[in-house]
């Protein structure tokens, strides 16, 4: 099987700091790939290079075998790569439906949409409701309530639902459980599994080893700006993983050597 999203020899320098040092990356169809690494290892830069927020100085990214060059997050979104940022990127005062369609609103058919550019509220609200229902996120159907009235877990839920609704090829989740409590984290992890069950591959960046080991099919260990190794969570313990990413231990018997 070929990787759906592949990075080769990616280099990104910030002045004299090398954030990505000839880094490789592979994501296979239908899997959850966790990316772990110490602070400053270059995880975020790697993810930004894949999602269009950063343009790598060298190297190439291929999506489904075709070379892609993303100049902005919008390019990546158009190619079907959705990112849920740690900050969630939502407008608190706007409604759930408005937020889900921000930047890709649907206009009405006919003259009201074409000439007066009127939005198709009914369609957007119905779509948002369906997507939230799909992920088991709705008990009360109030799609017009502002996002700021939701709890942290609910907001994360809406952000994941937005990504799942539009991300046709790859979904990237940046620290989705970092700001959540135990119960809310649990709900988000279940959401991630639900999304995976639909066949969409997920890149999960997280510091939380139990969460990573629970949901990930493979774990990409990032160290000093490059991929140190990829391990199978069934063959390695959490302490192994921590030891690899901090440099305390050198990996052996991994899926992909560096």
């Amino acid at each position: 099987m070929d990787p759906i999203l592949k990075g080769r020899n990616l280099v990104k320098r910030y002045g004299r700091v090398v954030a990505l040092d000839h880094c490789d990356f592979d994501l296979y169809p239908g899997e959850i790939l966790a990316v772990i690494g110490d602070n400053g290892a270059g995880k975020s830069t790697l993810i930004k290079a894949l999602s269009g927020a950063v343009i790598p100085d060298e190297g190439e990214v291929t999506l489904e075998g075709r070379r892609v060059r993303f100049a902005s997050p919008n390019d990546a979104r158009e190619a079907g790569i959705e990112t849920v940022y740690q900050t969630l990127a939502m407008s608190p005062a706007l409604s759930i439906a408005d937020n889900m369609f921000m930047g890709r609103e649907v206009r009405k058919a006919g003259i009201m949409g074409k000439l007066f550019r009127q939005l198709d509220r009914t369609h957007m609200e119905q779509f948002a409701r369906e997507k939230l229902n799909d992920l088991g996120l709705m008990t009360i159907q109030n799609i017009t309530q502002p996002v700021e009235t939701l709890s942290g877990g609910q907001r994360q839920g809406v952000a994941v639902a937005r990504a799942a609704a539009f991300g046709s090829r790859v979904i990237i989740l940046d620290e989705p459980t970092a700001a959540l409590g135990v119960k809310e984290s649990r709900r988000v992890l279940d959401l991630i599994k639900d999304v995976k069950a639909r066949g969409i591959p997920i890149i999960l960046i997280s510091h939380n080893m139990p969460h990573v080991f629970e949901v990930a099919d493979r774990i990409h260990v990032h160290r000093l700006g490059r991929r140190l190794c990829v391990i199978d969570p069934r063959d390695h313990s959490m302490s192994d993983a921590v030891a690899y990413m901090t440099g305390a231990k050198v990996p052996e018997g991994t899926l992909t050597p560096a």
Partner: protein, 355 residues
């Protein structure tokens, strides 16, 4: 992996029916529902204040105030501020501020007058030139704010002085008298054309103000551009990451605000009859007052443009009401000051997320 670490969350998992990330609505009580209503319809507070102030002055003064003539007189008196406040609302919704709106308004009116009288350009084109000038001033503000990333307060503090000074230099402080305009270029006074309905007196300028606010309210609510204006004011970074063209939205908002000020300049000639380079210089502060009393948050992203119209009308009701009561004009400013502070306090209360 030991079995212990696999099962440490068992207790959480078993109680899944709690549905942690579900949207449930608790009964919030009367106060809670009122709070929620204000949260959803931010123009409600100024509307209540407007109706209450009309009622109070109506009771105190009687028919002299509570008549179609007086009430529509208020509309005529606030039309310039109302139009400018619509422009100001757009900018404040993006978390900006525009101190140059008054200067753009008056310079636009001066250009309309001078182009028609100094250069003998047909009035239609003179009006058109004034509108284009307003648009260009707005785009200049927008360029400096969105591309150069300068703070809106500083940018418009600068352009306010520059435009106002240019206005005096260009016009040589010269006023074009109403009779001359009436005789030679009546189109300039078009916005002042009056018509009556019963005892009520309307001008085209008043109708323009009402239509402008209604159209903008519709656009802000029902188009993608309108939603983007709110999103940019709420959290520009989040809007950018969601795929909103933040710089383009800001540029268009400032440009549109400038164009609206051009129309305000046209309405200004209709209102005062003449073209005077010293008129409407306070429109910037008055428009910000109307916007704030109208419940639009200065932090951006919250509020309704209808509120700004209500805010302008509240100011108009207070000044006419107090004048008819024979009170010193300073009392108007006194009460407006109180209203501003009360409005911001209410805004803070509404923003509290307990709804």
């Amino acid at each position: 992996m030991s079995s212990d670490s696999d099962h440490y969350e068992t207790s959480v998992r078993e109680r899944r029916e709690e549905a942690v990330a579900a949207f449930d609505e608790r009964d919030k009580g009367l106060m809670g529902r009122f709070h929620h209503a204000l949260h959803v319809t931010p123009a409600l507070v100024p509307l209540i204040v407007l109706i209450a102030s009309i009622a109070v002055f109506g009771l105190l003064i009687g028919d002299r105030f509570f008549s179609p003539f007086s009430l529509t007189l208020i509309l005529q008196q606030v039309q310039i501020v109302g139009i400018v406040a619509a422009a100001q609302s757009l900018i404040i919704l993006t978390a900006g501020i525009d101190l140059s709106v008054g200067a753009i308004t008056v310079f636009s009116s001066v250009i309309m007058g001078q182009f028609a009288f100094r250069y003998g350009i047909p009035p239609v084109f003179a009006v058109f030139a004034g509108l284009i000038f307003g648009l260009l001033c707005g785009l200049l503000n927008g360029f400096l704010v969105s591309r150069m990333k300068l703070p809106p307060f500083i940018v418009t503090l600068g352009t306010w002085q520059i435009i106002l000074a240019s206005n005096y230099l260009y016009s040589a402080n010269e006023t074009i008298r109403a009779q001359e305009i009436e005789a030679q270029a009546p189109l300039l006074q078009f916005m002042g054309t009056k018509f009556t309905l019963g005892g009520a007196v309307f001008t085209y300028g008043v109708i323009f103000m009402l239509l402008l606010v209604l159209v903008l309210a519709w656009v802000l609510k029902h188009t993608a551009w309108g939603r983007h204006v709110y999103a940019v004011g709420d959290d520009p970074e989040a809007a950018q990451l969601s795929g909103v063209n933040v710089r383009g939205t800001l540029l268009s908002v400032y440009g549109l605000a400038g164009l609206i000020c051009g129309f305000a300049g046209w309405a200004l000639i209709g209102r005062i009859g003449s073209v005077s380079p010293t008129s409407a210089y306070e429109a910037n502060i008055e428009s910000i007052t109307a916007v704030v009393i109208g419940g639009i948050s200065l932090f951006g992203g919250r509020g309704s443009i209808l509120g700004a119209l209500f805010g302008a009308l509240i100011v108009g009701v207070f000044s006419l009401g107090l004048r008819l009561l024979g009170a010193d004009a300073q009392w108007t400013y006194f009460f407006i000051g109180l209203l501003i502070i009360a409005a911001v306090a209410v805004d803070q209360w509404i923003r509290k997320v307990t709804a």
